[in-house]
């Protein structure tokens, strides 16, 4: 029994570790990507057709590759980046790469909801593009962006279950190796329960943050 518990604890920790760092990286790169996708769009504050097209295409390519394939296809890149292509830390690379374009698109959609009139008002006051981004676009869209981070996190919990393919461990890996291959349905059940709880907690935390940011709106 204690062995089961320590297995579950270790795997849970691996999942949390992979997901948290990937979310952090995905947010750090995905939000600027989303901003770039929006402001370079036609008729926007820094319209740039070629750049917009290139970024859009890259995002679409990465979003159309199934994660299990991305996980393997990125092995050389992962090795180059972190020195190894197997293990929990190595799994963070493909997880982040998959989540950045996703986060980018979500952010772009959030920012698009900020009214053109508000942007126009800021322009009429003599705001620079940078000021419009930091003082208008992001603050106005913040609740929506936070909700995008929540969705990305939950997606990453799902993706992280495939990390076992490159030896990343985590709850998904535990479920497959013990629950399925060693015929231990109780372990399978526990992992599913832990995953459900993780997703629930993430959603609750996210909703709470959104409420905090949208007070008085």
């Amino acid at each position: 029994m204690s062995e089961t518990i320590s297995l579950l604890l270790l795997s849970s920790w691996q999942t949390i570790y992979m997901v948290l760092i990937s979310v952090f990286i995905a947010t750090a790169f995905g939000i600027p990507l989303g901003i770039l996708l929006l402001i370079t769009d036609k008729g926007h504050i820094l319209q740039n057709g070629p750049l917009n097209k290139v970024l859009g295409t890259i995002v679409n390519i990465f979003r159309s590759v199934p994660f299990i394939i991305l996980l393997i296809a990125l092995i050389p890149f992962t090795r180059f980046l972190v020195g190894t292509s197997i293990g929990t830390t190595a799994a963070i690379v493909p997880l982040s790469i998959a989540a950045i374009p996703f986060m980018g698109r979500l952010t772009e959609t959030s920012l698009r909801e900020v009214g053109r009139g508000i942007i126009e008002a800021a322009q009429a006051m003599g705001a620079s593009p940078f000021q419009i981004i930091t003082k208008v676009l992001v603050p106005e869209a913040l609740p929506s962006i936070v909700s995008g981070i929540t969705i990305t996190t939950i997606n990453l919990v799902g993706y992280s279950t495939m990390a076992g393919v490159i030896g990343g461990g985590g709850l998904g890996d535990l479920a497959v190796r013990y629950g399925y291959q060693r015929f231990m349905p109780d372990i399978m059940l526990y992992t599913v329960i832990i995953l459900v709880v993780m997703v629930q907690l993430t959603q609750m935390l996210g909703d709470f943050a959104v409420r905090q940011f949208s007070r008085n709106r």
């Binding site: 009139g117 800021a122 322009q123 009429a124 003599g126 709106r217």
Partner: protein, 344 residues
């Protein structure tokens, strides 16, 4: 103050080019409230946006205070825009900021220090009568209050010009009046030049000193408010005036005029239009005495455009020996607009 010369704006689209402005010329004097009236799609919104270069003119020039707007570098334009306030039909306030912080926004952009901002914001909120709402958020305000925040925000950097983009079109008549009064007040107190666009003649009538009528991308008529009101030249201007002057006669009266025997020389129904000081004369009682006619007032209205009275009367004149005809000649000689009504 503002010289607009030969301003043209063409929008290119797949389905062909659309001319939004076609050779517009305007001169807006310092300290005046200048109104541009036109129907939707006439180009007035584009015209307003060409003044602060939110829309780049295709050709022509816009000069504000001696500065040619079309040739400014991006940085120069940013600086210039800080001196041009703008308010909007849908207010365009930041929902994430409270009233105080919305008004502080343009000052933050201009890089003003915190202490100065706080002082300035207090003053501005007092000016627009919203000191007690400083900590409210836009979602907690009424339309009129939101526009007051918009006005305070637009005035934050002490602009020389205030552009109003259909600023009262989303408000009810009472709120519209209070916002217009506020604008008038600001114009008087701060001497700021106001350019407003609207589709409501009532707005023009309440506060504008000068008017331009815009139709199908061209300015078809412009002049002082009194000129436009007393002597509209174009059909468009006349149509806009109808909405505020009640010059349409009631159906019943028209019927009566139609049935009148016009071959009978002794009686006439006339419409007398008056404008300004002539009104002070007791014209009706004068003609009654002078030409021995009976005057029966059938219909009329009198109103004020800002400080000038204007209106019209429909009067039935009856007199013997051509008295009615002589009376009409007399009225015309006084400078009144007299029209004999036969076919209405």
């Amino acid at each position: 103050m503002i010289f607009i010369k030969n301003l043209t704006k063409v929008y290119h689209s797949d389905s062909g080019d659309v001319k939004a402005l076609d050779g517009v010329n305007l001169h807006i004097k310092k300290g005046e409230i200048f109104g541009v009236i036109g129907l939707s799609g006439a180009g007035k919104s584009t015209l307003l946006r060409c003044i602060n270069m939110l829309e780049r003119p295709t050709s022509g020039s816009v000069e504000i205070d001696g500065v040619e707007m079309t040739s400014l570098s991006p940085n120069e334009l940013k600086e210039m825009r800080k001196k041009i306030g703008m308010i909007f039909q849908h207010f365009n306030l930041l929902n994430s900021r409270n009233v105080r912080s919305n008004v502080a926004f343009p000052l933050e952009i201009a890089g003003v220090d915190k202490k100065t901002i706080n002082k300035k914001v207090e003053k501005l909120l007092e000016l627009v009568g919203l000191s007690d709402k400083a900590n409210s958020f836009p979602s907690q305000l009424s339309g009129g209050q939101k526009q007051r925040v918009g006005i305070a925000r637009a005035l934050a950097n002490d602009p020389k010009v205030l552009l109003c983009d259909e600023a009262t079109s989303a408000l009810d008549p009472q709120t519209t009046l209070s916002i217009l009064n506020l604008l008038k007040d600001i114009n008087k107190k701060l001497g700021i030049t106001i350019v407003l666009i609207t589709h409501e003649m009532n707005v023009i009538k309440q506060i504008c000193h000068s008017v331009a009528v815009i139709e199908q991308s061209r300015v078809v008529e412009q002049g002082s408010l009194l000129e436009i009101f007393s002597n509209p030249k174009t059909e468009t201007a006349k149509n806009f005036l109808k909405s505020v002057t009640l010059s349409e006669l009631p159906e019943e009266l028209k019927e009566r005029i139609r049935n009148l025997d016009h071959s009978h020389l002794e009686g006439r129904i006339v419409k007398i239009g008056f404008f300004g000081e002539v009104t002070a004369e007791p014209v009706i009682s004068t003609i009654v005495k002078k030409f021995d006619v009976d005057a029966n007032i059938l219909y009329g209205n009198i109103d004020h455009i800002q400080d000038t009275p204007y209106g019209m009367l429909v009067v039935e004149l009856r007199g013997k020996n051509g008295g009615a005809v002589s009376a009409i000649e007399y009225l015309k000689a006084l400078g009144l607009k007299v029209e004999v009504l036969e076919n209405v």
